[in-house]
């Protein structure tokens, strides 16, 4: 089969292109550094992107706009609980994941009980989470315990620890989607929820689990990001709203649901970091950077979709 017909290949090609162009400036110097940075920062986008991908797979109209607020709230509460005390990393992780579960549960309840369209439900809920984060800590930036900060900025075998976390999560999601019964059910639900229900699939369980997963992924990303960058800030999640959607669609998952693509999420996460680095390195101003980023995103989508049609 023609490799170009795989929808995820395009995000990887684009990432590689941006990588090469950046290094073109330095005639190859700094490749390691750049790759390392891309893996570190791509990991956060990949983690939230994997969650968003699961939600988008649920079908049209499903999307989680509360990711940034969930990240912020989870990180804020976790860091406040740990309060820079050594040895509390796991307590903090538990708090963060707990916040994720609670937020996911709340989102799902709004969707299920009040039957709000997910896009509106998660948007409204995110405002409440943001308020909770402000109220709980008034924007103070508490440092993570040193061991946790060391872990988050550390590396094993030349790969950043946060990237290991992202890769591990990607592997798990891949197995779930491609090999498990649960994944099949999710994909079926995304194609036609009604038909899936009539085929005996427990669609509400699938939807609930998906909305819980995305929030838990977001809270994990928030916890890691706060540990990595030296504390939680109220605006730390902002850029992950569009980012999480962008990496899913650039990665080749179908926005119409029922079809998802794990390797593409990582490719797109790397790309989103590398393209900004490339444009910054070439000295592009904010305007040029923005226009080019948008154009490249559209080009990737066109390339991926026209290839798919021909294949």
């Amino acid at each position: 089969m023609n490799p170009l017909s795989k929808p995820w290949i395009w995000s990887w090609l684009a990432a590689a292109g941006a990588f090469a162009l950046t290094l073109g400036l330095t005639s190859g110097r700094g490749a390691g550094e750049l790759g390392y940075a891309a893996l570190s920062f791509g990991a956060f986008a990949a983690i939230v992107g994997l969650g968003q991908m699961l939600v988008i797979t649920l079908g049209p109209g499903n999307v989680d706009l509360s990711i940034p607020a969930t990240m912020t709230l989870a990180a804020t509460l976790a860091l406040k609980t740990m309060g820079t005390v050594e040895g509390t990393a796991f307590v903090g992780l538990a708090v963060a994941l707990g916040v994720g579960l609670a937020a996911g549960f709340a989102n799902y309840m709004l969707i299920l009980l009040l039957r709000l369209p997910p896009i509106i439900a998660t948007l409204a809920a995110s405002l409440i989470y943001q308020s909770l984060a402000i109220w709980s800590n008034r924007g103070l930036r508490i440092k993570p315990p040193r061991e946790l900060a060391d872990f988050a900025t550390g590396q094993v075998m030349g790969i950043p620890n946060v990237a290991w976390a992202g890769l591990l999560l990607a592997a798990v999601v891949w197995v779930v989607l491609e090999r498990s019964v649960w994944g099949r059910w999710l994909l079926a639900t995304g194609q036609n929820t009604h038909a899936a229900r009539l085929a005996g699939i427990p669609v509400e369980m699938i939807r609930a689990a998906t909305y819980l997963s995305v929030a838990v992924f977001a809270s994990l990303a928030g916890y890691l990001l706060a540990s990595f960058s030296g504390g939680a800030a109220l605006n730390m999640g902002t850029e992950y709203l569009l980012m999480s959607i962008a990496v899913v669609v650039i990665g080749g998952s179908s926005i119409a649901g029922g079809n998802s693509n794990v390797p593409g999420v990582w490719g797109a996460a790397l790309f989103m970091f590398l393209v900004v680095s490339m444009l910054n390195s070439y000295g592009a101003g904010a305007g040029v950077r923005s226009v080019l980023t948008g154009t490249i995103i559209i080009a990737i989508v066109i390339a991926a979709s026209t290839r798919r049609v021909r294949a």
């Binding site: 049209p60 109209g61 706009l65 709004l110 009040l114 039957r115 709000l116 369209p117 896009i119 509106i120 439900a121 948007l123 409204a124 809920a125 995110s126 405002l127 409440i128 989470y129 943001q130 308020s131 909770l132 402000i134 109220w135 008034r138 569009l242 959607i245 962008a246 669609v249 650039i250 179908s254 926005i255 119409a256 101003g285 904010a286 305007g287 040029v288 950077r289 923005s290 226009v291 080019l292 980023t293 948008g294 154009t295 490249i296 995103i297 559209i298 989508v301 066109i302 979709s305 026209t306 049609v309």
Partner: protein
């Protein structure tokens, strides 16, 4: 089918009325010509943006670039349209045209609109930064005059909302071409089979969205008197919420222009209502979310009744 389920428009109307009553109760001063104008004049560009979003949702797509687009239009209006009106007008026409082309491209290559518009939001935002790297520009005088005109009896904001609703209702619900456009959202295959060039219809719907986006940006500048590259970013989500609040649905071509305008007014009013409640700043943001949930929950009561 119940009366309420058939007349979806009642829900947005009732939500708005209840909210308005509550606002008047909290702040009796709002119950005046002057007060209504203050409450609603910033809703005019939002209503136009909501209509623009509705045009896209009508053909089963969604526009994530609308906020950035309106910001760009605002920048063009506050600079080119003010300094060199002819050039400004040309640029605005070109922007409408590019929206139409976008619609054609999305249809021809069968691209997911959400992704293309996500990409376009970066493009529009970048162009806006070119034009206005820092806030500035000035509203053309005629536009400022138009937006601050004081008609007798009813304030400008209310008059404008009614006009927007009436015109778009005629265009989308009553007219033949509007019916066909809604048909594209309902079942594009059957419209194509009947011999309509769907690609042109989609381009037309997008073009209409571009037109209303341009109007939104212009009226915004008329009110704010100047622009910046980020001025309307939140219109993207606001407009989507407005369409849904107004009884529209994401797929199937079910939209209501009147509902969309009312939805936009409701959202604007909700924010004012909250500030009259004098919450602590910590909770002001969350309360916006809570009120959004509350207003939409009313839908539930209606749809439950509708099923019974």
């Amino acid at each position: 089918m119940s009366f309420l389920a058939r007349h979806r428009i009642i829900l947005p109307v009732v939500s708005l009325a209840v909210l308005l009553a509550a606002t008047f109760y909290m702040q009796p001063r709002a119950m005046s010509y002057f007060g209504l104008n203050l409450l609603f004049n910033l809703a005019v560009p939002i209503a136009l943006a909501t209509i623009a979003q509705m045009m896209i949702i009508m053909v089963n797509d969604i526009d994530l670039s609308l906020g950035a687009f309106v910001s760009l239009v605002a920048c063009v209006t506050a600079t080119f349209l003010n300094d060199t009106p002819m050039l400004g007008l040309l640029i605005l026409l070109a922007l409408i045209l590019s929206y139409a082309l976008l619609g054609a491209l999305i249809h021809a290559l069968d691209l997911p609109a959400i992704v293309v518009t996500l990409g376009m939001s970066f493009v529009w935002g970048g162009l806006a930064l070119f034009i206005l790297p820092s806030p500035g520009g000035a509203s053309p005088d005629w536009l400022r005059t138009l937006m601050t005109v004081k008609p007798p009896i009813v304030p400008m904001a209310v008059v404008a909302s009614v006009i927007i609703a009436a015109v778009t209702h005629l265009l989308i619900i009553r007219s033949g071409i509007g019916t066909v456009l809604r048909g594209v959202g309902g079942n594009a295959t059957s419209v194509a089979r009947a011999g309509w060039p769907v690609i042109r219809l989609k381009a037309f719907a997008y073009g209409l969205a571009g037109l209303f986006g341009v109007l939104a940006g212009m009226t915004l500048v008329g009110l704010t008197t100047s622009a910046d590259a980020n001025i309307a970013l939140r219109y993207t989500l606001l407009s989507i919420a407005g369409v849904i609040l107004g009884g529209g649905e994401f797929i199937g071509g079910k939209v209501s222009p009147t509902g969309a305008v009312i939805g936009a007014l409701t959202l604007t009013l909700a924010a004012s209502f909250l500030s009259f409640m004098r919450l602590s700043p910590d909770w002001q943001i969350g309360a916006q979310g809570a009120i959004l949930i509350l207003v939409l929950t009313a839908r539930l009561i209606f749809s439950r009744r509708g099923e019974a």
